[in-house]
């Protein structure tokens, strides 16, 4: 189980890093998303992998015998991280669209690649978009 999870996190992170290093904004966003999936999984398993452990412990449970309960804190942390990561991805998507509109291409440096015709900026931004 541990090896499998470690492998999954490793694959997610390496795919994420590979995409993050691409030259176009869309693969970069996908890369960051994959990276944050890997990280979220990593946070989650830091509470240790346990099967059949109770999530909620009541007072009547004998704590000394049922010490293996699911650690709730990493679950709370991972929720926070998911929410923040989601908001950031949404923001980055809008930003990439704006860069595409203003710079006329979707290269991360904002410059058209070799042998590629630079397109004219799609349209000037409206006041309420700024």
């Amino acid at each position: 189980m541990e090896a499998l999870i470690a492998l999954v996190i490793g694959v997610l992170v390496s795919c994420g890093v590979y995409l993050l290093l691409r030259a176009r904004t869309f693969p970069v966003i996908l890369g960051l998303t994959l990276l944050s999936y890997g990280v979220n999984l990593f946070i989650f398993v830091m509470g240790r992998l346990r099967t059949g452990a109770p999530a909620v412990v009541s007072k009547s449970d004998n704590l000394s015998s049922t010490l293996s309960y699911a650690d709730p804190l990493p679950q709370a942390l991972v929720l926070t991280a998911i929410v923040i990561g989601f908001a950031m991805t949404a923001f980055l998507l809008v930003l990439a669209l704006r860069a595409r509109a203003e710079l006329g291409n979707d290269h991360v440096d904002g410059t058209a690649g070799l042998g590629e015709k630079p397109v004219k900026p799609v349209r000037p931004l409206e006041e309420d978009e700024v």
Binding site: T25, L32, V39, F91, L95, A99, V108, D128, V130
Partner: protein, 505 residues
């Protein structure tokens, strides 16, 4: 437990929410609310500085949860000083902004307040995960601020800034959760106690997490080789935003100091002083590369952005010496460099606007409409940032140099810092003489600088003068601050001795 401790978070939070709801209403109302909130924040910071100056560690447990559980705010001398430095910088940046450079729209003020919420939270939190959350708050506000206004250059620089910070956040989460998996704690004091008694077999994991944290904080602080995002982003931001961002690198410096004196400090057992062997060479490289950038810059704002990098290098070199005198000198220098870089960014904008299409490019151009006034201000700011006597830059650099005297490899710092002062002098003489002396006929129809904007610049310079003339009082405070930092036992004990407030409160 004084409730004043949470005021630096609640004040910007509530004004930010209010400002969002007021958006679209009277601009006068929004601007005055924003200014009042910033002024109140300065007052609160002064009060907190007074509280922290008794040498105790003050705790504020939200919801009355006992540490190490729950959310905890910690006020000591260091966080109080950082609060005051950032709130004064924010006040003057806002004074500059309300004179017309906060457009288009009225969203800038709410974003500045959110940024202050994140910055103050990062200074006050006593918990590693909350540090991450406050980092995200300040980052998302800074993304919006950086992109505020239009322009292709902003979109280009903003994209780099956002992507690199998101990657940094991912590393931060990995480091934090690895430390949690190892010790079962996220509270900094409890973490420090747990790391000190770590099983030597687990030390490599703790060291990995610790160095990952250094990467993340180094990214925020613009430590080489992670500073490449900074010059372009700062140079393309609007003037009040660039001035405000002078505090952002200092947030990184603060977290480096906090983490590597408290959690991975002297008493951390197998991972004691984890960052020091990395910090020293990297700080010197940052210093050298920042100087090269400042010399090579072709625009004034890029040059000032590289001076921010130089100041980070100087600061962290002082921090890496890890003695009381060196830390005290570094924090003296931090106050100076934050305000002076803010003032320079504002001044660069005033100069830029009187040069028409040439903007801030360092080439022969039209004579400025207010050549004498802006030239005098630029001269004062340059003298201070270079580190020439009599202003605070000189005192700060002198203190760092004299703190390094008895250190084994101090010669590198001496050479770099002194040669660096010369290089900064050359860089700023080049831009200053080009702007004010190598001039042709003045442009017609250039309006003189607004009085309020000049007040903002002069106010920040006055802050630098205060630090210069009150140097002995400031140094006394930073010496006590350094002593508190180098004895983290008090911090850990105060956490363990904490008792929850009774229900009748």
């Amino acid at each position: 437990m004084s409730h004043l401790l949470i005021a630096p978070l609640l004040l910007p939070l509530f004004s930010a929410i209010l400002l969002i709801f007021l958006s679209g209403r009277s601009l006068l109302l929004i601007r005055s609310l924003s200014l009042i909130s910033a002024a109140l924040l300065v007052a609160v910071s002064v009060a907190l500085l007074h509280i922290a100056n008794d040498g105790q560690i003050h705790l504020y447990a939200l919801g009355n949860w006992m540490p190490p559980f729950g959310i905890l705010l910690v006020l000591d001398r260091l966080s109080a000083l950082m609060l005051l430095v950032s709130s004064i910088l924010a006040l003057f940046s806002l004074i500059y902004a309300v004179r017309g450079s906060d457009g288009p729209g009225d969203k800038l003020h709410a974003m500045v307040q959110f940024l202050l919420l994140g910055v103050n939270g990062a200074f006050l939190t006593g918990d590693l995960f909350n540090l991450f959350v406050f980092f995200e708050v300040l980052l998302i506000a800074s993304y919006a601020l950086l992109l505020h206004g239009r322009g292709a250059e902003r979109a280009r620089a903003g994209l780099h800034y956002v992507v690199i910070n998101l990657a940094g956040s991912a590393l931060f989460l990995i480091a934090v959760s690895a430390l949690y998996g190892l010790t079962g704690n996220l509270n900094m004091a409890a973490l420090a106690a747990a790391i000190a008694q770590l099983d030597p077999a687990d030390a490599p994991i703790a060291a990995t997490a610790g160095v990952l944290l250094l990467v993340v904080f180094g990214l925020k602080a613009a430590l080489a080789p992670l500073y490449f995002w900074l010059p372009r982003a700062y140079a393309s931001a609007s003037a009040p935003v660039a001035a405000l961002f002078a505090i952002m690198t200092k947030v990184g410096v603060y977290t480096i100091v906090r983490t590597y004196t408290l959690i991975f400090g002297e008493s951390a057992g197998a991972v004691a002083n984890l960052a020091l062997p990395w910090l020293w060479p990297l700080a010197l490289i940052t210093l050298a590369l920042g100087l090269l950038g400042a010399l090579a810059a072709r625009e004034l704002r890029v040059q000032i952005a590289y001076l921010v990098v130089v100041s980070v290098g100087t600061l962290l070199a002082g921090v890496a010496l890890n003695t009381q005198a060196a830390l005290a000198a570094s924090f003296y220098y931090l106050i100076h460099s934050t305000w002076i870089c803010g003032a320079l960014f504002l001044l660069a904008d005033l100069i830029r606007r009187q040069r028409g299409d040439l903007s801030d490019r360092i080439t022969k151009g039209p004579r400025l409409a207010q050549s004498a006034l802006l030239g005098a201000l630029f001269f004062i700011a340059a003298v201070s940032v270079i580190g020439l006597p009599p202003l605070s830059g000189f005192i700060g650099k002198l203190l760092i140099l004299s703190a390094a005297v008895d250190q084994p490899n101090a010669v590198w710092l001496w050479v770099l810092l002194l040669a660096g002062s010369l290089a900064t002098l050359m860089a700023l003489s080049r831009s200053g003489s080009t702007f004010f002396w190598r001039t042709s006929e003045p442009l017609a129809g250039v309006s003189p600088a607004d009085k309020g904007e000049l007040i903002a610049v002069v106010g920040l310079l006055a802050g630098v003068f205060t630090v210069t003339f009150g140097a002995s009082a400031v140094l006394e405070y930073t010496l006590a601050l350094a002593q508190q930092l180098l004895a983290p036992e008090a911090y850990i004990q105060s956490m363990q001795a904490f008792t929850a407030v009774e229900g009748s409160q």
